[in-house]
């Protein structure tokens, strides 16, 4: 066992941080905020990452990557997530849409789609969930039927982040009948500028930009935009989601918040001149968070270690996801209690402690136990695949 990053990964981290310090503008607070500058900025930022070979560094050289080792990839994930994911939607392209194309795409598709991804020029969104198909994804009903030399897509997707800005959509839909509901699905690549696509933003507690509904009304999708075998989209999707789960470094944001809270506790004094850090609840709260941060980080690294050792399994990512998302909830709540009554004031209010950081995090933490497979589904996976319990 070894609990340090390789020296070259740490050197890379320092370089990357310096780059980000220089590139991230003052106004940048993270991806899901109400600011029109966000998506254009992420595109620009990704192109700069691409110039340095840092955008798709984990990809093989043939596809525009540099075959980076797993710990350098972890450095990227951590630093980006800590900074509120300035890559915007493109983390999806490089983490799992690209790898999916490498696994299931034709040579033509790889040539056509991977290059722009590696250059940081294209934004993708993911069209999986539907109103009636959330945890039960295989219940989806968006249909692609055969028309004149192309698919004709009709249906509706929901919770599609980035759909207002995206150039392409990775669409899971039903092309064929099947005996069981996860049969007959196919994965399509859909140009978001195709006529018949309507995007309706859904306002959320986190702001007006977080989710969308996407409606497909007789949308023509060329046959050469089918990835993987027709009717075998479920397998493609599952492989994709497995990549998605590995990509999350949810602990990295916790570290940012924890450092901010520790500094706040040390530097903030009450009217008797006593620093907040002397309050017993603050001491025990920060100690609990610090230990849990360590655990969340190690649970995430375990997945990578196992992958590197060729010993990956389905359960470890589920364990990590539940633990890290609940830690994000916990730090929001402990942090709000720490800063006190004014924690309910929002970013920009002159009286808001830490300029509303804890309130902002609290709001954005709410969907974490729900997103990327609810924690209930994860616990089912742990119980059934990890402990052998019956369904």
């Amino acid at each position: 066992m070894e609990f340090e990053f390789p020296a070259e990964a740490e050197r890379f981290r320092a370089e990357l941080r310096a780059f980000m310090d220089a590139e991230l503008p003052e106004w940048w607070k993270g991806l899901f905020h109400d600011d029109d500058r966000i998506y254009p900025f992420t595109r620009e930022f990704c192109m700069k990452l691409a110039e340095r070979d840092w955008l798709t560094m984990s990809w093989p050289v043939e596809h525009g990557g540099v075959d980076a080792d797993v710990w350098s990839q972890m450095v990227v994930r951590e630093e980006m997530w800590a900074a509120g994911e300035p890559r915007g939607p493109q983390y999806m392209s490089l983490n799992y849409i690209g790898p999916m194309l490498m696994e299931f795409g034709t040579a033509d598709q790889q040539e056509r789609f991977l290059k722009p991804m590696a250059a940081g020029e294209v934004m993708w969104c993911q069209g999986f969930s539907e109103p009636e198909a959330g945890s039960d994804l295989a219940a989806l009903s968006t249909k692609a039927t055969d028309a004149d030399g192309c698919f004709l897509v009709n249906g509706q997707k929901i919770w599609t982040s980035y759909a207002t800005a995206a150039d392409w959509c990775l669409l899971l839909c039903r092309t064929d009948p099947g005996e069981r509901k996860h049969q007959g699905l196919s994965m399509l690549l859909v140009d978001m500028n195709t006529p018949g696509i309507t995007v309706r933003p859904i306002d959320s507690m986190g702001g007006p930009k977080e989710f969308n509904e996407v409606f497909f009304d007789d949308v023509e999708v060329p046959y050469d935009c089918l990835v993987g075998p027709r009717g075998d989209g479920w397998r493609v999707a599952m492989s994709t989601l497995a990549h998605e789960r590995v990509g999350a470094a949810l602990h990295a944001r916790v570290k940012v918040l924890l450092d901010a809270l520790i500094e706040y506790a040390i530097t903030t004094k009450d009217e008797n001149g006593q620093p907040l850090a002397m309050r017993p609840s603050v001491r025990s709260g920060l100690v609990r968070l610090q230990a849990r941060y360590r655990a969340a980080r190690l649970l995430c690294y375990r997945i990578v270690s196992a992958m590197a050792a060729g010993d990956a399994n389905d359960v470890d990512p589920a364990v990590s996801k539940v633990f890290s998302s609940e830690l994000n909830i916990l730090i929001g709540n402990i942090g709000l209690d720490m800063v006190g009554a004014r924690g309910q004031l929002t970013t920009g209010d002159g009286c808001a402690p830490l300029d509303g950081l804890m309130n902002d995090h609290w709001v954005h933490s709410i969907p974490q136990p729900i997103a990327m497979g609810t924690n209930e589904i994860q616990r089912n996976i742990i119980a059934q695949r990890g402990l052998g319990l019956p369904r």
Binding site: S129, I202, E376
Partner: protein, 372 residues
Amino acid sequence: MDLMLSDTQEMIRDGARRFLADSLDADTVREVEASADGVHAEIWAQMAELGWTALALPDDIGGGGAGLADLCVLAEELGRAAASTPLVATAGFAAAFLRAVEPTAATRDLLSRLAASDAVITPALADVVGRDERSAPSSVLTETDAGATIAGAKAMVPYASVAQVLLVSLTTPDGEAAVVAVDRDAAGVSWARHGATGGDPLFHVEFDNVDVPADAVLARGPAAQRAIDAGLDAATILATAEAVGCCEAMIRLGSEYASNRQQFGRVIGSYQAVAHRLADMRINTDACRLLVAETAWLLDQGREATLEVAGTKVFANEVMVDMVHAAHTVHGAIGYTTEYDLQLYTRRARAFCLSHGDTDAQTERAAVALGL
């Protein structure tokens, strides 16, 4: 011992529920939240007309002669409807504060305005640099020949833009506490709304050398502190009753959603992960309501109830934080959208946990009251 609602309480509950069902739907709540004052002025006016806001004031001054326990029944209904009104500030804090200070012509006048339901009187306690309502203020009261002058700034003042009178806590040059009734329209008073996540509109209020008459100083020294505590205790319990109403709404929404939403061919409410979370919400909400009722009853009896007020708040803070996340878990992504109503309640519940004395402050009060 009788824990059933009294006939009066049932009447209040049913009346308020009917009234709010008719006059306040969720879209109206959204409009109110987006409005400049952040208050549902009409509902407040109608509540005043119905005598509800003066319900717990003595009948000899024209109030309803009922108790805080009865008012809590009303507050719970307001919480269920996510109604934003100055009830906690006015009928909670101001009424209890004014009844706790030495009676003067000025306090009698303010009380009779409350009893006649024609004033919003709101506390302005937390200084801009302080932590909360109980932190010693740095805003200053200086006596003058004509009366007194106040200078400073307050944060987190609820409903300041619709208030007629502010009850402002101050420190005199010799370090004594004082509370002054300030005409909100007096020269030198200005206000600006905070950005905040909860349901009550909160304001930053500046006092730029505001002159007040001598009789506006309602209390000084330990008596001022005791009266503030009395006001805060009543407000805390009333606010907890409102928060219980929010929890009831969270349970209602969650149960409806879980009874209709299907996944994997089953209604999700048939999964124990969902059903048991809702059951726990039921348990903790019931516990909160009973703690509120008993505490309000003790206050109505004139008993010492610091332990009960503070303990109730500590318990409510703990369980409501959990309930907020449980409610979102039950709903999945839909509960996070602003189109759906859940967020109206979860934001209020979470803001409640931070308000009216946080867990640290109330734990310490309760511990002292326990003899520790």
